[in-house]
Amino acid sequence: MPKPLHSYIWRYTLILIAVGLALLPVAWMATMAFKPHTEWVTTAADLHWWPEKETWGNFEYIFTGQTDAVSITHERTAGKPILASLVTSLLGTLIAVVAGTLGAYAVSRFKVAGNLPLGVLQLRLFPPMAVMIPVMIMWAFLGAMDTWWGLSLIYGIVTLPFAFWLMKTFFDEVPREIEEAALVEGCSWFRVFWKVTLPMVKAALASTALFVFILNWSDYIIALLLTRKDWVTIPVYMNSLSSAMSGQMYGAKAALGLIAALPPVVFGIAIQKYLVRGLTFGALKQ
């Protein structure tokens, strides 16, 4: 049934407005990242949407702590926070995915550990703030404050629910017949899991890992509570970039923000297919 032209016009108008609104803040930050110091703050009448003189100075500044036009030098560069974000997010993802995958398979196949599905879901219900006091005491006691392993560990736990539920839905979908055939041939259960089932969910496993990585990478509050100086992650470092002396370091922060924003957007688009499933704990499968 052909649709009348005006319905298309309406639809595209509305969609373009929505897309424009979605892009506006991102675009502002992206152009700000290439604006020289003189254009960071302007009088209202002199506002430019596009940098007058494009520069890489902001990137130079966050990585080396100095650049031509900016008089204030910053002794802590962005290198370490980026490394910290990478290391802790990756290790956290590893912990969550390994524990989640093993647990999900066991729950899906052997109906053991009935407490696990809801137990991990609870982790998601409570505001991290409400439960962080004992964790902070514990971390201080263990010497895990401001260390890479302390932060990785808590990331692994916080994102465990997502890994567990995603993998559980994937395992639920694997046809039993194939596994049973392998069992009849005398394989042990673990061999079946390792050699038959896991290869079948390889793509799903990769998506789960990317999804969990995005969540870890996006964290701010936990790093704020559990790191001080050595292992602060990008968002915490970013907020420390402005001080009473330097004022708002608009361009430098925008450059860093751009770097921080890139990986999740790229990965997110890559795993679009599974986003709904991941975000609703498998309740919806699209």
């Binding site: 979605a22 803040p25 439960v131 808590i154 996006s218 923000g257 957007v265 986003l275 919806l284």
Partner: protein, 310 residues
């Protein structure tokens, strides 16, 4: 359910159960380590006067027992109730708006049109931006010499110089706008997934029978989407209650206490007042309230399901 006699397990099943227990071990240990044990610790600390600068190890906190004093204090703590109220206000305003916008968008994207894939990907982008970074974006946008005022000036023709983040009400609105920007895509994504599930031939039949778009939506799409809608609303409400990153980067809870959500209030208590015993009590209080709400909610949903089945 009547109790059945457990059938004897075959060797293979036995092997599976044992392997299963081993496989769940890492997850169980993690749960024990960060849920069960800390919970006990939190209950313990919350009944004392303990603070991190007392010079006393936490396990000696019993030397300064306060019993339920901290819990009593919660009820007299007007700052706590204020933050809780503001948090609920944010949830009550933001979640319905996100829901309606998401639903509208999902309807726009419901059937095929050229360019759908690329527009869809762009629409999902906001929710993939690191929330703290999104907060910073909006911090820039809402500066008094920033682009929002620039756009408003262009539209209205007069110079707009509103200091968005310095005015209590406007700061709250700014934070809400930022949250709506970031999380409408989530609603859109979930609701669109639910909409795609509606069988196409049903829609075609209805169209042939003369149902207009409004009727089709109201009578066919909506009833089928009920579960999806509830899921979307519940997930978003729970997450929104925790609101912190965007808000903290944009306003830090200010001006004054104008945008102080419960998470920001607890953060201040933790790092500025260092009253950790009290924080533990507040945390537990929130935990208990949320658990009660979740418990009632789940029970109601199950009851509704049973009713639907009968």
């Amino acid at each position: 359910m009547t109790k059945k006699k457990k059938p004897a397990l075959t060797p293979l099943e036995r092997e599976g159960k044992i392997l299963g227990l081993y496989m769940t071990l890492p997850a169980q240990l993690l749960l024990l380590f960060v849920v069960a044990f800390p919970l006990c610790m939190q209950i313990y600390v919350s009944m004392t006067w303990w603070g991190p600068l007392d010079g006393v190890k936490w396990y000696y906190a019993y030397e300064s027992l306060n019993w339920f004093g901290n819990y009593g204090e919660i009820f007299d703590d007007s700052k706590f109730w204020g933050s809780l109220g503001r948090t609920f206000l944010i949830v009550a305003v933001v979640v319905p708006i996100e829901f309606l916008l998401g639903l509208g968008l999902a309807m726009l994207f419901a059937d095929k049109f050229p360019g759908k894939r690329i527009f869809y990907s762009i629409m999902l982008m906001p929710m993939m931006i690191v929330p703290a970074v999104a907060g910073y974006m909006f911090f820039m946008l809402f500066q008094s010499s920033g682009p929002i005022n620039d756009i408003l000036s262009a539209i209205s023709g007069t110079r707009v110089d509103t200091a968005w983040l310095a005015d209590p009400d406007l700061a709250m609105i700014s934070v809400m706008i930022a949250d709506i920007w970031q999380w409408t895509p989530l609603m859109f994504l979930i609701l669109l997934a639910g909409m795609v599930g509606v069988p196409e031939d049903q829609m075609k039949a209805a169209t042939l029978l003369g149902a207009n778009a409004w009727h089709r939506f109201w009578r066919i799409v909506l009833p089928r989407m009920k579960t999806v809608m509830i899921i979307a609303l519940v997930i978003r409400s729970v997450e929104c209650f925790k609101i912190f990153d965007i808000l903290y980067v944009m306003t830090g809870g200010g001006p004054g206490v104008a945008t102080k959500s419960i998470s920001v209030y607890i953060l201040d208590l933790t790092f500025k007042d260092l009253d950790w015993a009290y924080v533990a009590a507040i945390g537990l209080f929130i935990l208990i309230c949320l658990s009660l709400i979740a418990f009632v909610g789940i029970n109601r949903m199950q009851a509704a399901q049973k009713k639907a089945e009968a």
